[in-house]
């Protein structure tokens, strides 16, 4: 075996190992490296009280209630499961019903989530305000653009 051939073999081996390692990582990170969990994931797993975590999903329609000027109660849903959330503090501009949100906090008992931080999650859609009005008027406003 010449030096050149050995080198080529080593390069191929390296590439194969790197490729398999990348696949290994991607396969395993799919669920794990989450900034947040979805409500249905939380429903499936055991709820640990007072453990700090983040939940991401949509604010359920008609679930938002203002208790006082800085205290709110609403539900976070991913259309399969929903979680009741209470929050004291200032909500971001984008926060509204039907809009994505990520909340940070802990379960105070098995079904109420006490949020300490609320982040609004924006989706990838951008659209002029005027067009949305048109769409609503003509009834073509569909849920995809929520």
């Amino acid at each position: 075996m010449s030096l050149r051939f050995q080198r080529l073999l080593l390069i191929l081996l390296t590439l194969v190992i790197i490729l398999s390692a990348v696949l290994l990582i991607l396969y395993n990170t799919r669920e794990n490296v989450s900034y947040f969990y979805t409500p249905s994931e939380i429903e499936k797993s055991e709820i640990i009280i007072d453990k700090v975590m983040r939940i991401g999903g949509f604010v359920e329609n008609d679930s938002f209630n203002k208790i006082s000027s800085s205290s709110f109660i609403f539900k976070i849903t991913d259309e399969k499961a929903s979680i009741l959330v209470t929050f004291k503090g200032i909500l971001p501009d984008l926060f509204r019903e039907g809009q994505g949100a990520v909340i940070e906090g802990a379960f105070s008992d098995s079904n109420i989530f006490n949020a300490t931080n609320v982040f609004a999650k924006h989706d990838e859609n951008y659209m002029p305000a005027s067009i949305k009005e048109d769409l609503k008027d003509t009834g073509y406003w569909n849920k995809k653009y929520k």
Partner: protein, 223 residues
Amino acid sequence: MKFLNKIIFFFYREYKLNLSGVQDILTNIIFFFVSIFIFIFSIGPDTDTISLIGVGILWTLLLLSSTLSLRKFYQEDFENGNLLIMHLNGFSYGLIAILKTISHFIFVQIPFLITIPIASILLNITNDKAFYLFASFSIGSLILSCLGSISSSMNLMNQRNFLLGSVIVMIFSVPVVIFSVGLINLEEDFNSLINILFGILLIIFVINPWASGFCLKLSLENN
């Protein structure tokens, strides 16, 4: 067979070298423990807080203290010409990098591994968490050794700014820390997180001989 003998005697040489410089390794470990004390005293007497952030502190300090010894990684052997002599005796640059990395793991990182149980007692870390910490650091430290090999071979000819080597190690160890600490805090996903760490290890372990070997060749060429 001859080749294997050479490798065994390479480690014999590293063992002799590290034995004569055992105070360096001990100083590293003392640094580690002193920083733990300082952390404990600066946080205050609240044991709950300490055990809550203990894992994070331990990982940070392990990372910092193992980057302290980076300067020794190749520098001595490079300056007295032993790297060159080894290369002339049939060790290719990549092989030197692999052997040096493993010897760094054995002689610098394993002492830290042994001290982890003591450190976790000091920081009020529960037994099962200490076990996960041990598991994650035993893979993570090999990754750190590989990163150390790459960055210190890059900085062999860098006389001005050696801190750069530590910065390079630390920026690439960010994912290692993320997954390791994840592994300690999310006990249920042990397998998949270990797999991720193992995947990172594989990648960096096969990149290491190419990158370090190239840098060693480059430095010897321009010395």
